[in-house]
């Protein structure tokens, strides 16, 4: 489990307008690039001080590459991060609030207690 790394992906992409568009247009290529180049980057440090041990598990990489936000929820990614990024990518394709309600509908099979989001 690398919930922290899932969240790090969502966090770093959501705050960068160019990465948001790259993730929308080419999710698999972008996730592979990000994992290779940025997963180990210690934020606010130069590349020479990167971490050495962070990588996605296969299910996590597939969920990100497939834009599979219900799966990200099941994996314990932070729901606020997932929601915010996916709104940024896909709200534009729907009526007002249409994407948000579809998002809820696609998670309707989830019941309490929800997956643990502690990292």
């Amino acid at each position: 489990m690398s919930k922290y790394l899932l969240n790090k992906f969502l966090f770093t992409v959501d705050r960068d307008p160019d990465l948001v568009e790259r993730y929308r247009e080419d999710p698999r290529g972008m996730v592979e690039w990000w994992e290779a180049e940025h997963a180990n980057r210690l934020l606010s440090c130069h590349g020479g001080e990167a971490s050495t041990w962070l990588r996605f598990e296969d299910a996590e990489r597939e969920a990100l590459a497939g834009h599979d936000y219900p799966k990200l929820f099941e994996l314990g990614a932070h729901p606020f991060l997932t929601l915010t990024l996916f709104i940024a990518m896909f709200e534009r394709d729907h009526e007002p609030l249409g994407f948000q309600t579809e998002y809820a509908r696609r998670l309707a099979h989830m019941s309490m207690p929800y997956p643990d989001i502690a990292t």
Binding site: L43, R105, M110
Partner: protein, 287 residues
């Protein structure tokens, strides 16, 4: 000594700015009533004639992140830029700039540490909508210096509810012992029941109207003990997966005091979440 002239607890609905400024076909049907309620709420702060605002909120993974996560953090800076790209993108919030009341920040940090709270601090803090929303609703002219205080209601492990109440009590003590001839208002924002990124999000009401009813009763009557007897970190998952933001309301109940009845109470049942507005005048009225 400084005087605590108002204690204000509010939700921080990020869509208020867009709804209240929209015109014509873009203006949602609930906007006019929402504006009316917010303007009445604003008047409760205006009447208190504050010089300084202590602003309690919670960073939504903007500057505070999982590689270095504080539980309680006090901003200590001469200025604070505000609102983030993803808040402009999603909510249409404007860029803002605040002046800091740096001497009060220093006082709260020093005295807060000595009072048993290991407060983190930031000398360069870009604040987010948990603090800018109440400025937009309560003080849109943005003419007063602030002390921002952030709490972690977002990234577990979280402090327990009782700790929020205790910090609220301590903030009050520190404001009232601050050796300055200033009128201070403490404003904090949180949530009632709320779901974000889960199956109960963006419904026609908040996800748990019964929780909301009880929460409004606890807050408006100052029933800290009753609230603490029912609210735990575990129980807050039930009304909605983002309901831990209610602990910022509990912090504000700590500022207001046990048994303190709010002087102004208003709510507005919107889609997605219930708005709730509370004002206390600690000295029995507006001088």
């Amino acid at each position: 000594m400084a005087e605590l002239v108002a204690v204000i607890a509010s939700t921080h609905h990020p869509f208020y700015y867009r709804a209240s400024t929209a015109t014509g076909e873009d203006r949602p049907p609930f906007a006019d009533e929402w504006v009316r309620k917010v303007e009445a709420f604003r008047e409760t702060l205006t009447k208190a004639r504050p010089d300084v605002l202590v602003m309690v909120g919670s960073d939504h993974f903007h500057q505070l992140w999982l590689d270095n996560m504080p539980q309680f953090l006090v901003g200590k800076a001469p200025f604070y830029d505000a609102n983030w790209y993803n808040e402009e993108r999603e909510f249409g919030l404007p860029r803002m700039l605040f002046t800091g009341q740096e001497d009060l920040s220093a006082y709260i940090l020093r005295e807060g540490l000595d009072a048993g709270f290991d407060l983190a601090f930031s000398n360069e803090l870009r604040i987010d909508h948990s603090i800018t929303c109440p400025i937009i609703t309560l003080r849109p002219q943005n003419d007063l210096p602030i002390v921002p205080i952030y709490t972690n209601i977002f990234a577990p492990p979280l402090p327990r509810p009782k700790r929020f109440v205790q910090l609220g009590r301590t903030i009050r003590e520190l404001v009232e012992s601050w050796p300055a001839d200033k009128r201070v208002a403490v404003i904090g924002t949180g949530h009632l029941s709320l779901e974000l990124g889960g199956p109960r999000q963006f419904g026609p009401h908040g996800p748990d109207p019964e929780f909301d009813r009880k929460a409004v009763e606890w807050i408006s009557s100052g029933d800290i003990e009753g609230c603490l007897s029912e609210v735990t970190l575990d129980s807050l998952h039930l009304p909605g997966n983002a309901t831990h933001g209610f602990m910022d309301f509990m912090l504000m109940m700590g500022v207001a005091g046990e048994g303190a009845k709010a002087d102004h109470v208003d709510t507005y049942d919107l889609f997605h979440t219930m708005e709730a507005y509370f004002t206390w005048y600690p000295n029995g009225g507006v001088a």
